[in-house]
């Protein structure tokens, strides 16, 4: 390279510089998700129709759709769905709001942090389903024990996400608030909470998925109506079509909740790029 004679003699024809900067940049492909769904369902349908997937392994997707239609027409769908949604809403709301409150307190006060973080760490790994008998004793066999189970299950992940989000609020913004003489309450309300909002919302996504899992668990253990009860009934009769119809409803419920949080994020976090 340092040899001055190098650039005098043209040794070979010029080569275009090879591009090597591609990849590692996720791009949205809206159509890809539906395509995968349709392909998997079509494959299952073919397999069950042709017989290389036995009826005991997997029900025909068209039969599952039929079971779903039956549910809809008989009005049973809403008899099962409404109590489930109610439990999810009440339990999830209690758990999430208590979780956010405790998380913010942990983030703001070192005494609360020192006292509560070990407690939260201790109750986080307990499978909450194991506590259902205890909740039945405390709150009765009715709705209250189901609310408690869902609330308890959403509480811990919300706490952890919230105090992590409060910890991550830019300290220089808080320092700025103090330097302008803002009151403690103003700093919390106008700087800490909005700054923690992205973290709180992404924590809620996880908490609400856990809430759906616990909802089904609670309904399997003692409910006459509800998606969980419906799945349990179908399962004990080995009625795979109805079982899968129930599972599809749960999955749709999860997708809907996730979409709702996505909408809230888009609205509240418009300030992010």
């Amino acid at each position: 390279m340092s040899d001055p004679s190098d650039h005098k003699s043209p040794p070979t024809a010029p080569i275009e510089v090879r591009f090597r900067g591609g990849g590692f940049a996720p791009r949205p492909h809206r159509w890809m998700g539906p395509v995968v769904f349709v392909a998997v369902i079509a494959l299952l349908e073919c397999g069950t129709q042709a017989g290389w997937i036995s009826a005991l392994t997997f029900p025909k997707p068209s039969d599952v759709l039929g079971a779903f239609g039956e549910l809809w027409e008989s009005g049973l769908l809403f008899q099962h769905l409404m109590p489930s949604l109610g439990r999810l809403a009440v339990g999830g709301a209690i758990g999430a709001s208590l979780g956010i409150a405790v998380g913010v307190l942990i983030g703001l006060f070192s005494y609360v942090r020192a006292g509560m973080v070990p407690v939260v760490a201790a109750i986080f790994p307990i499978p909450k389903i194991a506590l259902l008998p205890l909740f039945v004793i405390w709150f009765g066999i009715d709705e209250a024990s189901k609310y408690a189970l869902i609330a308890f299950g959403t509480f811990t992940p919300t706490v952890v996400a919230t105090y992590g989000a409060v910890d991550n609020v830019d300290r220089s913004l808080i320092r700025m608030g103090q330097s302008f003489g803002l009151s403690w309450m103003s700093i919390v309300r106008k700087i800490v909470l909005p700054g923690a909002m992205p973290g709180i919302l992404s924590g809620l996504r996880i908490s609400l998925a856990i809430a759906i899992i616990l909802l089904v668990a609670a309904e399997m253990l003692g409910a006459s109506h509800g998606i969980g009860a419906y799945i349990l009934q179908a399962g004990s009769l080995y009625d795979l079509e109805r079982l899968f119809a129930g599972v599809v409803i749960l999955s749709l419920l999860g997708v809907t909740l996730s979409a709702i949080i996505g909408q809230i994020e888009r609205r509240l976090l418009r300030w992010r790029s």
Partner: protein, 255 residues
């Protein structure tokens, strides 16, 4: 309102960062603090504004802040410290809300400071839409809104590129010429110090002590980019600092 520092010393644990600093900040003038990195100049600024307490010594306010002053000691930060979820207007109204100034009286103040910083067309923009220079002008507007007695500027131009820095320096000079304000201006950039400082305080490396105080009598408005006499002062400052800056650079950080 003047500020007086009475033999200030400050330590973090066993590390002494400032030693016996006595300094007067007269009203209506800009005092620049320069020194090698890690000499405690930003710490001194935090002490002056009451964001930290000095280990030894007192910082005194002499005289009353001017009429209508909402926040006598007001900072302008290196990283702008704008709330990303509030518009330009919202960021300025943030510091007025706590003083019960809302509605029309707040609008009047906001319009006034936006006009003075040439930001009137950007009142509804979000911080992420603004360039670094614009963000710092919003921070200046926010500081002006509380009618400070003393502006405490912590390397306000250090996060900006050199062209934006020149433009913003001209803006600051214009602001001062229209209405002289008191400021403590921390910088590591000697060109900024000689352009904006009436008095330049050179600190030694850690523990920071006052090495020399240089007065520049030339009016701010007459100083320009690359003035010969300013270059001379700048060279003098650099001669004072060079060896210390090198020694500071070679120091281990986590002592």
């Amino acid at each position: 309102m003047d500020i007086r520092l009475n033999s200030i010393s400050h330590s973090y644990g066993d590390t002494e960062v400032l030693r016996d600093i006595s300094l007067d900040i007269p009203s209506g003038r800009i005092v620049c603090l320069v020194g090698p990195s890690g000499c405690g100049k930003s710490t001194l600024l935090r002490l002056i504004g009451g964001l930290e307490r000095p280990t030894i010594g007192k910082i005194l306010q002499l005289g009353d802040p001017p009429q209508g002053c909402l926040n006598p000691l007001t900072y302008i930060f290196q990283d702008f410290a704008l709330l990303p979820w509030r518009s330009v207007r919202g960021n300025i109204s943030l510091v007025l809300e706590d003083h019960g100034i809302r509605g029309a009286s707040a609008d009047a103040i906001i319009e006034d400071v936006l006009a003075r910083t040439k930001l009137s067309d950007f009142r509804d923009a979000l911080p992420r839409q603004l360039s670094g220079g614009m963000k710092q002008r919003v921070a200046v507007a926010r500081a002006l809104a509380v009618k400070p007695a003393v502006m405490l500027m912590d390397e306000p131009l250090s996060a900006l590129d050199s062209q934006t820095r020149e433009l913003l320096m001209d803006d600051l000079v214009a602001l001062w010429t229209r209405q002289p304000f008191t400021a403590v201006y921390v910088t590591h950039n000697l060109a900024e110090a000689v352009r904006l400082g009436h008095r330049i305080v050179v600190l030694s490396r850690r523990p920071g002590q006052i090495n020399e105080v240089v007065e520049i009598d030339k009016p701010l408005a007459d100083r320009g980019y690359g003035d010969a006499d300013l270059e001379k002062t700048q060279k003098h400052l650099w001669d004072l600092m060079r060896d210390e800056a090198r020694a500071a650079d070679e120091e281990l950080i986590d002592v």
